[in-house]
Symmetry: C2
Subunit: 206 residues, 2 copies
DNA sequence: TGAAAGTCGTACTCATCCATACGAGTTATG
DNA sequence: CATAACTCGTATGGATGAGTACGACTTTCA
């Protein structure tokens, strides 16, 4: 399961080009999901032919960009404690991943239009699962609501994340305030409704 | 300010064609925001040339479809009581407009890619204002939270609406359940956080 | 019923973008 | 330093989709 290189021999400058291209693809597609191959090549400061030398088709390039972003996510979450109080864990998860998710929202859109749903799910599942497990744990702890479908809760969080990303990109939200706003909103969505005079399962919230 | 007809004389069959085209545009663009003029004409059961006879460019057609959808919204809200308790009013607003908003979500996306931001705002402002006023009133009543930017609250509701629309379209949400889920989620987002032992302004919730 | 209005197919131009072909020049690396 | 790997411009092919031109046919309506 170690990352196997089908192409072990590659020159240093080629490696550099690929890195610049992938980076440019992430940047460009995050601003405009329908960006042209030529746009991406220009942003990378590289001829279009060089790009095609490494990525045979546009979908292949988009996938590479998405995979790179997801790898960043995994790396970022390494060593992040998702145990303990689910609410706190969720806040930590959001605080550390919000920026990446925000930046990659449009990239995900681009991928949706170009990759098969199956392939997309395969790539994106790890991230989605993590969120789902955490919410489920919060439900068992009694701090997250259980009266709405789990799938909806997971996706509602995503929609809020992407929405906040867009608001930030459009300048309607101060990037400095965004994390706090996202956390507060997600908390509100997930929180178990504390009915007046019927404070949920007592004893579960230490 | 009455709707002025720049083209008073128009034959009955032309009127019919236009209606079918606009309807087809709404339907088609709501499924695929990047639908072709040809697609729309086919859906309308009309030749492409007929379509071009009434709408000179694609943007013009998209705008007509959006305007039609917005008119539907206005018509739907006529006679809807938005007074009284803001929370209840919001529930009524969502219950009656959710379906239309859901259907028009993708249409709005199409419009965003084709209309100038100014023009789009001009068309869409009435609907957005209504939501904003209602939230503001709820804040004055003490039932909606005031610790997040008003703009964000308005747009967060929109993102949830569109998200629910997408979930429904993808079959991940039962259309019968959607309204209830949307209402519950929006309530959670807007509700003033009832701090334990500090139940907000007493006397406002009769 | 006849002229104006509307319908609509075919064929065309124009622009954009993906992808390939070729080939000359440049750089890494054993 | 020689060769293989890489870069990259120009040109080309092919697909798609917007919008126009033209002209024959049909429908409305005064």
């Amino acid at each position: 399961m170690v990352s196997a290189d089908p192409r072990p021999r590659r020159r240093a400058d080629a490696e550099r080009s690929i890195a610049r291209i992938v980076s440019a693809a992430r940047e460009t597609l995050s601003r405009d999901p329908s960006a042209t191959v030529d746009d991406i090549a220009k942003t990378a400061g590289v001829g279009r032919m060089t790009l095609y030398g490494h990525f045979r088709t546009r979908p292949e390039l988009v996938e590479a960009a998405l995979v790179d972003a997801l790898h960043d996510g995994e790396r970022m979450l390494t060593g992040l404690d998702l145990g303990g109080d689910a609410q706190m864990a969720m806040n930590r998860l959001l605080a550390s991943s919000w920026l990446l998710v925000a930046e990659s929202a449009a990239l995900l859109t681009a991928a949706q239009g170009v990759l098969t749903p199956g392939r997309l799910r395969e790539l994106h599942n790890a991230a989605a699962d993590r969120m789902e497990q955490l919410i489920r744990r919060g439900q068992r702890q009694g701090v997250f609501r259980t009266d709405l479908p789990l799938t909806w809760l997971v996706n509602a969080v995503h929609y809020i994340l992407n929405g906040a990303a867009e608001e930030t990109r459009l300048g309607r939200l101060d990037p400095a305030d965004s994390p706090g706003i996202v956390i507060a909103t997600v908390q509100a969505i997930l929180a178990a409704p504390a009915v007046d005079g019927l404070p949920q399962q007592p004893g579960t919230n230490t």
